[in-house]
């Protein structure tokens, strides 16, 4: 692995315009990754789904070099219909288009950077890999008091022109005071097997609102990892919705620091998995000051030989009185071979807090099926109605009506 990495890294350097300082900066990350290797099940965070094994099993010819100097053709058929939106289009990890046509251009700034430090402590080697191999870091800055008129959709697609089996990309978002951004991630559905490593950094200043909807719906052979770091100042709100259904493997990780009073974080997720899919959501919410709130609801519907895991950690430090923390996960196992793992973790050092967690899993309720069938619905209809109903309350948590309708349609839920 390390030889391939070294030579692919050299190719990246050759085709880029990195300065010597930047090259050295990136090389440090590369060395870190080579030292650590891919995460594996010996690490607590990776015990349910071991990514080093999963990559080994699925991608025999791991390679890392993408020529970012050559552009890819955009296929407009990937665009979401029926919702006016701004766009950022990634193809094979390369930014092909940035389009904020619906917005006041003075209120948004796009900044390209190469050398970007990481503001928090981490052990995760995938962040090292990402920092070594991304050609640039795009930063979207929303200025004070500006609410984007339309959502921003980020398209993550791959084409069959792709040379490597690994893609790394990184985006930073800076939300100025009292600004608002609605962000939708649409994941593509290519049949090429590659490992996609995405790293987002969000900085929410006072009173700003971030709504991030991650939609991985259509069946594809990708292995995906998405790491999201969210920093929140006073009165800011982050809402994250994850539909985890399309990829062979997908792990979404959210690290959220509630640094300002009255800040709050909402994370709602759906796993809808079939044959051999393995998905995970891992969250860490750090309640660091008084009067912060977090809420998490994760539901799974698991078919034959599929597996989902939810690791939710709530940390409350000694200063963070009046913390309100809640997490609940529920799973329907459609087959004996379906597997759901939940690991809630509460670490609380303040005494005046309200924190709770719960988890439940089981098969579809036969009595409910009988009730629906006795009203003339066949087995399949009854099952679908029950599953829809089970998932509906997660979708109901989406606070943007237009996007809620879009996602309801994408999932195929009937209201």
């Amino acid at each position: 692995m390390s030889e391939q990495l070294q030579s692919d890294f050299d190719k990246l350097v050759k085709t880029s315009k990195f300065s010597n300082e930047e090259i050295q900066f990136k090389k440090n990350y590369l060395d870190n990754f080579i030292k650590k290797g891919f995460p594996n099940r010996k690490q607590e965070d990776w015990k349910f789904l071991d990514i080093s094994q999963i990559i080994k099993k699925n991608i025999s010819d791991l390679s890392y070099f993408n020529d970012y100097s050559k552009s890819n053709k955009i296929d407009p058929s990937i665009f979401v219909d029926g919702l006016e939106h701004n766009k950022i289009i990634f193809i094979n990890g390369r930014i092909e288009k940035i389009d904020f046509n619906f917005e006041d251009q003075n209120k948004i700034e796009i900044i390209n950077e190469t050398k970007k430090d990481i503001s928090f402590d981490y052990e995760n080697s995938l962040i090292d890999l990402n920092s070594a191999l991304t050609d640039k870091v795009l930063k979207v800055l929303v200025k004070k008091d500006y609410s984007l008129k339309k959502p921003l959709i980020i398209y993550h697609s791959t084409s069959d022109k792709i040379k490597s089996t690994n893609i790394n990309l990184r985006l930073d978002f800076e939300l100025g005071e009292n600004s608002c951004l609605k962000l939708i991630d649409c994941f593509g559905y290519s049949t090429a097997r590659s490992f996609i490593n995405i790293f987002y950094n969000f900085n929410l200043e006072k009173g700003s609102i971030l709504k991030n909807y991650k939609i991985d719906k259509f069946r594809n052979n990708n292995l995906k990892y998405s790491f999201n770091n969210i920093e929140q100042d006073n009165n800011s709100v982050s809402e994250t919705f994850i539909l985890s259904a399309g990829s062979d493997y997908f792990k979404n990780e959210i690290n959220c620091n509630l640094n300002g009073e009255y800040s709050s974080a909402f994370i709602n997720g759906i796993f809808s998995l079939k044959e051999n899919q393995q998905h995970e959501i891992r969250t860490t919410i750090n309640h660091l000051v008084e009067n912060t709130k977090s809420y998490q609801l994760i539901k799974s519907v698991l078919g034959k030989n599929s597996k989902s895991a939810y690791q939710g950690r709530i940390f409350v430090n000694s200063k963070a009185q009046k913390t309100d923390g809640y997490q609940l996960s529920k799973a329907i196992l459609l087959d004996e071979t379906s597997e759901f793992n939940a690991k809630p973790e509460l670490e609380i050092y303040a005494d005046d807090v309200k924190c709770s967690h719960g988890s439940a899993s089981g098969s579809l309720d036969e009595n409910s099926i009988f009730y629906l069938m006795s009203r003339g619905l066949n087995y399949q209809q009854s099952k679908e109605l029950l599953i829809n109903g089970f998932l509906m309350d997660v979708v109901e948590k989406i606070t943007d009506v237009e996007i809620k309708n879009l996602i309801t349609n994408i999932i195929g839920l009937k209201q």
Binding site: D365, F370, M373, G376, L377, G389
Partner: protein, 244 residues
Amino acid sequence: MLKISNLNANVENKSILKDFSLNINPGEVHAIMGPNGSGKSTLSNILSGKKGYQVSGEILFENKNLFDLETEERAHKGIFLAFQYPLEIPGVNTNIFLKTSLNAIRKARGEKELDAIEFLKLVKEKAKELKFDEEKLNRQLNVGFSGGEKKKNEILQMSMLAPKLSILDETDSGLDIDALKIVADGVNTLRNDDNSFLIITHYQRLLDYIKPDFVHVLMNGKIIRSGGPELAIELEKKGYESFN
């Protein structure tokens, strides 16, 4: 219409119904009374096709072997069960459920499916007849409904689907006096020469409002006596002990 002959039903080697036989002709109303655990709900479940019972004997519905039909096919053919304990179905809107159900049955009968407007008109009309709060139709099916509201919802479904054979499993339990009359009216409206009813109850009072043609006493999985409405009155006075 319904002909049950020597029906035996076991659950996990426990015998629940024993050589049970009953005939219901078109237009007839039969009442079954019997102590707790005597097998009344088991009978209703088996008629509707619930799985999990070992059965022998024969059940014919309009000369067709019921055991050959799945639960939904029985519903299509006109069998309806008002559940003793209607289930709560979270996340499923009551109106959408009702429309799906009605159209599944209409389709199976070869009738035109109703569009949203036609459906709403019908459901509003029926809800009004039954004094069923229309606002509840936009809620999740039976979720947060009171005991009585759930029972009324069963009767609303019955009157929407207009079944040939309606089985009411203790629909009167938990209803207030006014609701009892409304439910009885619902049954009496549907009652005609072609439709039949099997009414399971613990209380004679319901039978003041819905006059049965026959009353049967079920004990230990067997009908031990059959008669007219006067049997219910006798039962109310003397209790089950005297029949043993």
